[in-house]
Each structure stands twice: as structure tokens, then as C-alpha cells.
């Protein structure tokens, strides 16, 4: 069952080759065998998952089966799931049992999918290595000494190691695409506003977007079919007709144009990554695609701009963790002020505290114009670059990550070096655009992906291009242990 696609699992359930209970039990056993080493899950609740599987089997026996009915899906621990412990990777929420379902979890429940458990993540999704989690670092299944990327490192490691067929994830600056790249998976960050943020614990509200991490573009399309839906409880949810993302997976891309941004393909690009991307281009050429050099002149400023906007929004969003209505409260304090100070000192990890402090600084009296407003203006320039580029091409090719996975502990002492992990992914979050990372090959036995960026709401086109690449390449078929 390990290497079956979501569609093959669906066929198996439909043909009664196996039941949802058997399938779910198989993955729960995989978790029992592997999670001690990999640490991809924070919470597993066998009873709840099996109960859901029994209900799915009943639906299937009555022929009420849709694409994901009966299929176990791991949920990133940023999504509230009713009566499930929902921690966001933080000590602050170690005792928090969500009182309601997030829209994403609700949609999966309604589709008949099984909640397989809650995956590990960087604390409050702040990190690129999954080392900031209160629940310990996640290990990369390709080599346990290396990071799986972050912040959706648990989701990526769970799928890469065969503990889950697919998983949900979120992407504020690259948190779906960078772990997908580092774990040989396909991960899609949709257009801002396509997937509801209701019940998804907020980090930077103008950037956060949920999406799938899976083995292939086809699996991502099936996941997105469930996840993308208008939600009036998220005021930034975009009202539009529901699309079927599997419909155009095989459409011809003959004569289409992929833009090559000269600012990404410069001397700073790692030589090995460059060779890998050139091979991706050759593959697309064989599919009839043409290339055009484009320019994203302001993309170099994405990182400084992001590290103003994201911490500013985070400092506001995370002010709710004060030890009053839910979550952690310090045990020793003499008054209310000290209760706040100690609760937040003890409940948050170092990286989260750093970002709250940076956000507080850039929003504080006298600095607003110089930092926050300035960053918002450059954000406009970055978004305008993309708008202009898309008049010349269909999609844009970019690296997903600057390198393959690095060793656990290598970058923990240098936050700025860690931030550079997202140098190729952040600009699309600032612009609100959709982008995918898909397997492109291996460097020294460690996987790396390529990125395709699309115009607003062009997820179908991105998935089509990626699916066709995967129909003529094998990289996505490799599992840990098979390449060495």
C-alpha cells in the first residue's frame, strides 16, 4: 500500500480490495514503526481514526464514495480539529484541545477522509527546518541526520517515509514548497484566498495559505479539490466557482512559454541546483515548451520585506497568547503584568519570541513609516514585477530551495542564515501567487525540487505542467532507501 497513489487507494477501496479500517490500520502501524525515529507526528489517536474509518466503510458499502472517502490524511498541527490536541508546535498550546474544526479539517471530514493524526511543525510555523518545534526536531527520512525543511516538516516527513499517503500543510514564506523540495515530494501553495484560513492558527494573516503535500501533482490536485472552497467565516476567502483540478492534468502544453527569471539564475545559484534545473528545462522542451528570459528586479528584496511584514503581523496575532482564556499560564507570578511576562517568556520558544520582538519593533512609535510602510510599498513593487512577467509567459521556473537538506543543528545559531532558505519562495507569498515544488533529482543522494509559479488562480495550469513532467520523469517515484 505504501507506494499507491491517492487514486489507486480510491480504486482499491471502491473495488473492496481492502477496507478503510484495514488501510487506516496499515498507516497507524507504519507510524508505530517509524515515528520514534522520524518524529513526524505530535498526536496520533488510533481510536478516533479507526472510528472515522468505520464510518467511511459504511459509506463505501452504500456506494457513497468520493475521491478521498476512506483515505487517511495527516493534518498539520496548525489546523484546529475538534477534540484533537492542537498545539501548533508550541508549549503555549500543549494543553489545547480545539473546540471546533477548522474549515480545512471540516472539508476533509465531509469528504469521508480519515484524520490520521497531527503532524509536527516549526513552532507557530516559524522556521525552515522544523527544529523550532517544542516537540523536538523532525528527521529527514532520506537521512536522519538532516532536517526535513519547515515549517511543514512533519507533514513532509510523514508522506516521504510512508506514514501517510498525503498531508495538509501551510505556506507563509515557503513552508510547503521547501520541505517538499527537501523530502522529494510535490507541494502546492495555492493563491492567497483559495483555501479558507478559518481555524488555521494564524502566523502572518496576509501571507498564510494552506495547501497539500503529496507524492505527485495528481495527488495534490485531488487534495486541492477538497481544500479549495469559499468560506464566509474567512473574510479573505475568495468567492469563485469550484474547479476540478484533475480535469486538465493531461492537457497539451505544446507551444506554452516558461519564464526564466534572470535574477534567480545568476552566479549565486548553486551549480548543482543549476544543472538539475537545466535538466528540468530539457524535459519541458521535449514536451514542446518554449523558454523566455524574464526579470523580477525587486525579488532580491523579498527576504528583508518579509521579515518586516511577517513578524509585524505575527506580533499582533500572537498577542492573544496571554495565559487568560486558553493555553499555557506560568505558575509563579505576583500580579497580572508578571503573569503576562512570564507566561509568554516560558510558553514561547526563542524563534517565536525573536519574531514577536522584531514585529513589535517595526510597528513601534516612530518606526512604522521606516519599516512597515516601506515594506508594504516594496511588496507592491515585487507583486508588480510578477504581473508584468506574466504578460510574457505562462508559468515561471525557479529553484525551490537554495540547496538540498542541511544537517540538524547547522543553522540554529544563525537566524539570518536560516531565513535565506526561503529566498526563492517568499516573493510569491508577498504577491499572493500560487506555486508548486516538485521532485527534480538528487545531489549526493539527497533530493531537491524545482518550483513553478503561476498567475493568480492558475493552480490547474501549474498542476497540468507538473503532471506532464511527472509523466516523463521518475524522480517522484523514489522513496528513501532506494537511491543510495
Amino acid at each position: 500500500m505504501k507506494d499507491l497513489s491517492l487514486n489507486e487507494l480510491h480504486q482499491g477501496l471502491k473495488n473492496k480490495d481492502f477496507s478503510s479500517v484495514e488501510l487506516t490500520q496499515y498507516y497507524l502501524n507504519q507510524i508505530k514503526d517509524l515515528n520514534t525515529d522520524i518524529n513526524a507526528f505530535i498526536t496520533v489517536d488510533e481510536e478516533k481514526s479507526i472510528q472515522q474509518a468505520q464510518q467511511a466503510d459504511q459509506l463505501i458499502s452504500q456506494n457513497h464514495i468520493s475521491d478521498l472517502t476512506g483515505i487517511p490524511i495527516a493534518q498539520k498541527d496548525i489546523f484546529c480539529a475538534s477534540s484533537w490536541k492542537t498545539t501548533c508546535g508550541s508549549k503555549m498550546l500543549d494543553n489545547f484541545y480545539a473546540p471546533y474544526d477548522s474549515k480545512v479539517v471540516d472539508l476533509f471530514n465531509k469528504s469521508g477522509a480519515i484524520n490520521l493524526g497531527k503532524t509536527n511543525m516549526d513552532e507557530f510555523a516559524m522556521g525552515s527546518s522544523n527544529e523550532t518545534s517544542y516537540y523536538g526536531a523532525v528527521k529527514n527520512p532520506w537521512n536522519l541526520d538532516f532536517v526535513p525543511g519547515g515549517s511543514s516538516g512533519g507533514s513532509a516527513a510523514a508522506v516521504a517515509s510512508g506514514m501517510s499517503p498525503a498531508a495538509t500543510a501551510t505556506d507563509t514564506g515557503g513552508s510547503i514548497r521547501q520541505p517538499a523540495s527537501l523530502c522529494n515530494l510535490t507541494g502546492l501553495k495555492p493563491t492567497y484566498g483559495l483555501v479558507s484560513r478559518f481555524g488555521m492558527i494564524a502566523f502572518a494573516s496576509s501571507l498564510d495559505q494552506a495547501g497539500p503535500i503529496a507524492k505527485t501533482a495528481e495527488d495534490c490536485a485531488l487534495m486541492l479539490n477538497v481544500m479549495a472552497d469559499f468560506d464566509e467565516r474567512d473574510s479573505t476567502s475568495v468567492k469563485r466557482d469550484k474547479e476540478n483540478y484533475t480535469q486538465s492534468l493531461n492537457a497539451s502544453i505544446q507551444g506554452k512559454i516558461i519564464g526564466i527569471p534572470k535574477e534567480f539564475f545568476n552566479d549565486e545559484l548553486n551549480d548543482d541546483v543549476k544543472i538539475i534545473l537545466e535538466k528540468v528545462m530539457q524535459a519541458y522542451q521535449s514536451l514542446g515548451v518554449n523558454f523566455k528570459e524574464i526579470s523580477l528586479p525587486n525579488s532580491q528584496l523579498s527576504i528583508p520585506v518579509y521579515y518586516v511584514i511577517a513578524p509585524a503581523e505575527a506580533s499582533s496575532n500572537l498577542s492573544r497568547y496571554d495565559g487568560v482564556k486558553f493555553g499555557y499560564r506560568a505558575s509563579n507570578y505576583k500580579d497580572l503584568e508578571e503573569m503576562y511576562l512570564k507566561t509568554r517568556e516560558e510558553g514561547f520558544g526563542d524563534e517565536v519570541k525573536r519574531r514577536i520582538l522584531v514585529g513589535t519593533y517595526v510597528l513601534s512609535a516612530g518606526y512604522y513609516d521606516a519599516y512597515y510602510l516601506k515594506a508594504q510599498k516594496i511588496r507592491r513593487l515585487i507583486a508588480d514585477d510578477f504581473t508584468k512577467a506574466f504578460t510574457e509567459c505562462d508559468l515561471i521556473l525557479a529553484p525551490s530551495s537554495p540547496s538540498t537538506a542541511f544537517k540538524i543543528g547547522d543553522k540554529t545559531e544563525d537566524p539570518v542564515a536560516m531565513y535565506m532558505q526561503d529566498m526563492y519562495t517568499i516573493s510569491t507569498n508577498l504577491a499572493g501567487l500560487p506555486a508548486i515544488s516538485a521532485p527534480a533529482g538528487f545531489i549526493n543522494n539527497m533530493p531537491i525540487g524545482f518550483q513553478l509559479i503561476g498567475n493568480y488562480f492558475e493552480e490547474a495550469k501549474i498542476l497540468n505542467f507538473t503532471h506532464l513532467y511527472q509523466s516523463i520523469s521518475d524522480w517522484h517515484k523514489y522513496s528513501p532507501g532506494e537511491v543510495l
Binding site: S237, F326, L341, F348, Y361
Partner: protein, 95 residues
């Protein structure tokens, strides 16, 4: 502009995060590194550029103000570190 230990004390107060005196210097050093990274954006001329506060230039969706969930007071009070009947309990603030 380099940050000072006075800035760190002020930020600690504003963000309501206690920073022990042992950690102050480390926090200062790391924050200073981040601010240096951020300051690289200052070289860009942004005269006449409209700030972009939201990824999509759309109006916020509004919905009717109707009750959709029944009273869930007990469920939510249970989540609090300390509660009593109808209230969350905090240290005394009025003498």
C-alpha cells in the same frame, strides 16, 4: 541603526515577554543581525508607490450578523487555565 540594551528592555515591555538579564545580550545580538538584514531594503526608492497591505486587491467579504452556533460558554470556559462560573480568573487588578 544599531539596537541598544535600552531598546530590548522597551520591546520586552511592549511585547509582554520577559527577557532575563542573562539572555539580554544574546537577544540583542540576534535582533541586531535581523535588523541589519531588514535595513537592506532602505536603499530602494519607493516615492509614489502605493503600499500593498493585502495579497489581493479585493474588498473584504461581509456576511450577515446572525448567530450560527448555540451558546458554548462552558466549552470555552473549560479551556481557560482558571475559571469560575461565568468568568476567566486573573490576578486581582483593582485594589
Amino acid at each position: 541603526m544599531a539596537l541598544t540594551d535600552k531598546d530590548i528592555k522597551k520591546l520586552s515591555h511592549l511585547a509582554k515577554i520577559n527577557i532575563s538579564s542573562d539572555d539580554e545580550l544574546i537577544v540583542l545580538k540576534k535582533l541586531d543581525g535581523i535588523m541589519k538584514l531588514i535595513d537592506t531594503m532602505q536603499k530602494i526608492d519607493t516615492t509614489d508607490v502605493q503600499p500593498m497591505s493585502h495579497a489581493l486587491d479585493i474588498y473584504q467579504t461581509l456576511r450577515d450578523d446572525v448567530v450560527t452556533e448555540s451558546n458554548q460558554k462552558e466549552k470555552f470556559l473549560q479551556l481557560g487555565p482558571e475559571s469560575n462560573e461565568d468568568y476567566f480568573i486573573v490576578p486581582r487588578v483593582v485594589e
